[in-house]
């Protein structure tokens, strides 16, 4: 009974969400087709759709997508390994937690994107500076959540395992890791989201290739319809990846 009620509630809120998007699209269409909004500022959605079909059909997007995803993969891999390793090491001593946790949390609150000009100076306009920015932004949520995950495992679990004769490795594998995992996974998801965001963003500021770069390039050439098509494409990619990481997180937490 109550599950049917739940499902009806969910359906109703879905309907409102879809309705809202449809109304927005309708406004967009009416504004460009009948109300005389300049196509330079806001292109007709039908035109955008044709551009998108052309981009997808011709495979023109592939080189840019490869650059962006490559930067993301490398940045995320570096911040994962370094963040989890460092976080685990810090979590092993109460003293290290007291010293480093506030320090890292302090640096995390700095808008690291401001270092982009410096990174461009160090690593050039290519993928190097994007990987650097993506890594240094996603490193902090990962390392902080790893410290929180491993550092605050309830003592009773450790004591119980010790009383039953758990070895150091068994303690890690069967007690510390499962206790810490949900918190670490949340850190990984946040890290992934901010890495993608900062890489796309920095591509729009200073770069030679990538989806962000393509979008700015089209804007400067006043090809607004094609730019909108690329934005829609990038949004779709980002939404897919974020949904994927969220569902991976949920699935891992359920176990």
């Amino acid at each position: 009974m109550s599950s049917r009620q739940d499902r009806r509630d969910r359906l109703a809120s879905r309907a409102v969400q879809v309705g809202f998007l449809a109304a927005l699209m309708a406004l967009w269409y009416l504004g460009t087709a009948y109300w005389g909004v300049s196509p330079l500022l806001l292109p007709n959605p039908v035109k955008v759709w044709h551009e998108l079909a052309d981009i997808l059909g011709s495979g023109e997007y592939l080189p840019d997508l490869k650059v962006t995803l490559g930067e993301l993969a490398i940045a995320f891999a570096i911040s994962c390994t370094s963040g989890i390793t460092l976080g685990y090491l810090i979590s092993r001593s109460q003293y290290a937690i007291r010293v480093f946790e506030p320090l890292l949390a302090g640096v995390y609150s700095v808008p690291i994107i401001l270092f982009l000009p410096l990174y461009v100076l160090f690593f050039g306009l290519g993928p190097g500076s994007k990987i650097a920015i993506g890594t240094s932004i996603s490193f902090f949520p990962i390392v902080l959540n790893t410290i929180a995950g491993f550092g605050y495992v309830d003592k009773i679990y450790v004591t119980a395992a010790r009383s039953m004769g758990a070895s150091d490795f068994q303690m890690f594998r069967h007690v510390l890791l499962p206790a810490a995992l949900p918190v670490i996974l949340t850190g990984l998801r946040i890290g992934f989201t901010v890495a993608l965001l900062s890489i796309l963003g920095s591509e729009t500021i200073a770069s030679l290739a990538g989806l962000g770069h393509r979008i700015v390039h089209l804007a400067e050439a006043m090809e607004t319809a094609r730019m909108f098509a690329y934005i829609a494409f990038a949004v779709a990619i980002a939404a897919t990846l974020n949904t994927l990481t969220s569902s991976l997180e949920r699935r891992a937490k359920r176990q």
Partner: protein, 274 residues
């Protein structure tokens, strides 16, 4: 049962302090305590809060090292946990919440080093013994407090140790659940040959379960007196209504009352921060 059996646990002039003398957090938890626990005996430790009864239990189990004195289990001096000789049941929530009930029991055997083929039958046997055979695939969060403690007991039983240390295992449960668990525990343990040390706050629980009850004085704690409860196991639930039960309970109450007052006054003197 306790009569003339050989000694399973021998505690000699043990004391324990947290911190050094002069430190602000220096606490003498236990002072110069000696005690012999016979094989197959159930000994209850009872006393005011902070009297060191849990400290003594943890030293017997090797989770704490005494500041002075020695603890022997059989002929082994205890300096660290002895997973093959001693199993623990803690106050609450020592089950791993990420494992189902049966996985919790099996994980204990993994830690202890039991061959894998024995895990399943031993886990099922001990869960059946505590009355949880229909809940083996539940997670701890899906169980009531009483059922969680049954599962923790099953995990300890599956380790098949000679000694079982229980640190206020029913302390967080309501009075009725506690009574039922106590009765079941008495039946269950009368079938095993285990030596059991059981820390409790409850006078009734101590008299109902124990062969002997060791009464602690206020801090720095030590054993003030040991009372024998001469009544065969398993104890009949109607034991609690007998004159003998009331007399023993009243005697415990008399011994404890002054110590509890002292302990309360101590903590009041320690100031508002404690």
């Amino acid at each position: 049962m306790s009569a003339a059996g050989d000694v399973a646990i021998s505690v000699r002039n043990v004391s324990h302090q947290f911190g050094e003398p002069g430190d602000t957090f220096h606490v003498r938890a236990l002072a110069d305590t000696s005690l012999d626990i016979a094989r197959g005996e159930l000994l209850c430790l009872i006393g005011p809060s902070g009297c060191g009864k849990s400290t003594l239990l943890n030293m017997i189990g090797g989770l704490l090292v005494p500041t002075a004195g020695t603890v022997h289990v059989g002929d082994k001096a205890v300096r660290a946990p002895l997973p093959h000789e001693i199993a623990f049941v803690f106050q609450e929530n020592a089950l791993f919440p990420w494992c189902s009930v049966i996985e919790n029991v099996k994980l204990g055997m993994v830690f202890q080093g039991v061959p894998k083929a024995e895990h399943e039958p031993r886990a099922r046997r001990s869960l059946e013994a505590v009355g949880l055979k229909d809940f083996i695939n539940h997670y701890p969060a899906q169980l009531s407090g009483g059922m969680r403690q049954r599962a923790a007991l099953a995990r300890a039983l599956s380790l098949e140790t000679g000694i079982l240390l229980m640190d206020e295992p029913f302390g967080a449960l309501d009075e009725q659940t506690r009574m039922i668990l106590g009765e079941d525990l008495s039946v269950l343990l009368s079938r095993t040959e285990k030596t059991i040390v059981f820390v409790t706050h409850s006078l009734g629980e101590a008299v109902f379960l124990a062969d002997r009850v060791a009464v602690f004085s206020a801090r720095p704690g030590t054993i003030k007196e040991i009372i024998s409860v001469d009544e065969p196991h398993p104890r009949n639930p109607s034991f609690v209504t007998t004159e003998k039960f009331s007399q023993l309970r009243n005697r415990l109450y008399g011994l404890l009352h002054d110590e509890i007052r002292k302990a309360v006054e101590q903590s009041a003197m320690a100031g508002p921060q404690s």
